[in-house]
């Protein structure tokens, strides 16, 4: 059986006001992507969208979305994404655009990148905090991230040493 390969595009939705982000849902984003692809690549593009395209994950608070495409056609479909200018949801039209952060072969690689990216965003937020309480909040979140990363690295090392012993 031939292994089915996909490409996962990790994208960030940028809007003018944060409150618009909370109104987005995955079906609206999927419809918007399909419509943009149809506009640029016509019927051929819409047909490609039926193959293995789906929105795997959407975080309305941070605007992060995982899009899955088939590995053969992901570049063509990716080339239509810059032309996406708005998402229609619940009778509203939200002007936005997608920024592609990472392309991965599996969801796990995209998740690893997302953890690093979110840690970077926390570091960027720190100088913009308005009061001491917010700063403390952000500092704790950064400490949690680095502890979690350290613990995961230790786990990986243990697994590797166990494998060596078995050999």
């Amino acid at each position: 059986m031939v292994r089915v390969k996909s490409r996962y595009l990790l994208c960030e939705i940028n809007v003018t006001e944060r409150k618009y982000l909370l109104q987005l849902d995955d079906r609206a984003v999927a419809a918007a992507v399909r419509e943009a692809v149809g506009r640029i690549h016509g019927d051929y593009g819409e047909a490609l969208c039926n193959i293995r395209f789906s929105v795997k994950y959407l975080n309305a608070h941070t605007g992060i979305v995982f899009l899955r495409f088939s590995k053969r056609f992901y570049k063509l479909l990716w080339s239509a994404l810059p032309f996406l200018t708005c998402v229609k949801t619940r009778g509203q039209t939200i002007p936005c655009f997608l920024k592609c952060l990472h392309v991965g072969g599996t969801i796990q690689t995209c998740q690893k990148f997302l953890i690093k990216y979110n840690t970077q965003q926390l570091h960027r937020m720190l100088p913009n905090c308005k009061n001491e309480e917010e700063k403390e909040h952000v500092r704790k979140a950064i400490m949690n991230c680095s502890q979690a990363w350290g613990r995961k690295k230790d786990d990986d090392d243990e697994v590797r040493s166990e494998e060596d012993e078995e050999e």
Binding site: N14, T16, P82, F83, T85, C100
Partner: protein
């Protein structure tokens, strides 16, 4: 890590809009942007615009995503002419000195042979995002340009009038593939070609790119040294 640049952000009198544009560009990962002032010499009573001071326009510059430095903001002048020959000889004139980059928007079909001299052509994508007729023209023109210059000497810029018309560098690279470039050339269009444009522009202010002079403030000891030399000669 590549350095990405967006060398066409149109100037607008609305300071908030400009600030939003630059903040979005920094968030997207562009390390340099150039604010573009348009100038039409054919219109009467038009003087070359003077670039405004960045710190007054925008205040503290935002940090670039993924780096620890603030975004660099340069000034660019675009002159709309029909015959570029008489403009090129005046490129070192005093009015053009405050600008880091000079560009020419042609209303006739001359000057395509200049691509060999370090001059670079620009394709802007914001028009393509607005409506389908402009999209068709942008793609047609971009494809014809790529045919004549074989993918070298081209940069991709936004010409975005609002923050929502900017796109991230990797998305622009994918747009470049749509415009007829291969992957590696497309990445160069957003990074190394832009950098070579900036370096080439700096040679405008220098003698053949080797020596540059700077005006020194006040007379100081240099004035005395000069007069001493004169005394010796006499």
């Amino acid at each position: 890590m590549s350095v990405f640049m967006d060398l066409n952000v149109p100037f607008t009198d609305n300071h908030e809009l400009l600030q939003q544009l630059i903040q979005t560009a920094a968030h997207l990962g562009y390390s340099t942007v150039a604010i573009n002032y348009m100038f039409e010499p054919s219109a009467k009573n038009k003087q070359v615009p003077v670039p405004a001071d960045i710190s007054q326009l925008i205040g503290p510059l935002p940090l670039v995503q993924g780096r620890s430095r603030p975004i660099r903001v340069l000034h660019r002048l675009t002159v709309v002419v029909s015959d570029p020959a008489h403009f090129v000889t005046r490129a070192n004139a005093e009015e053009y000195r405050p600008f880091n980059l000079l560009a020419v928007q042609l209303t006739s079909e001359k000057l395509f042979h200049a691509a060999d001299r370090g001059v670079v052509f620009e394709v802007s994508y914001a028009a393509a995002l607005r409506d389908s007729t402009r999209r068709r023209y942008t793609i047609t023109n971009a494809l014809s340009l790529m045919e004549s210059c074989r993918g070298r000497g081209v940069i991709l810029c936004s010409a975005a009038e609002q923050a929502l018309e900017l796109r991230g560098p990797y998305d622009v690279i994918t747009l470049g593939v749509l415009f007829g470039l291969c992957d590696a050339d497309s990445k160069d269009c957003v990074s190394s070609s832009c950098r070579s444009v900036l370096l080439h522009a700096e040679t405008r202010r220098t003698a053949n790119g080797i020596v540059s002079t700077r005006r020194r403030e006040g007379a100081g000891p240099l004035g005395e040294a000069v007069s001493a030399k004169r005394a010796k000669v006499i």
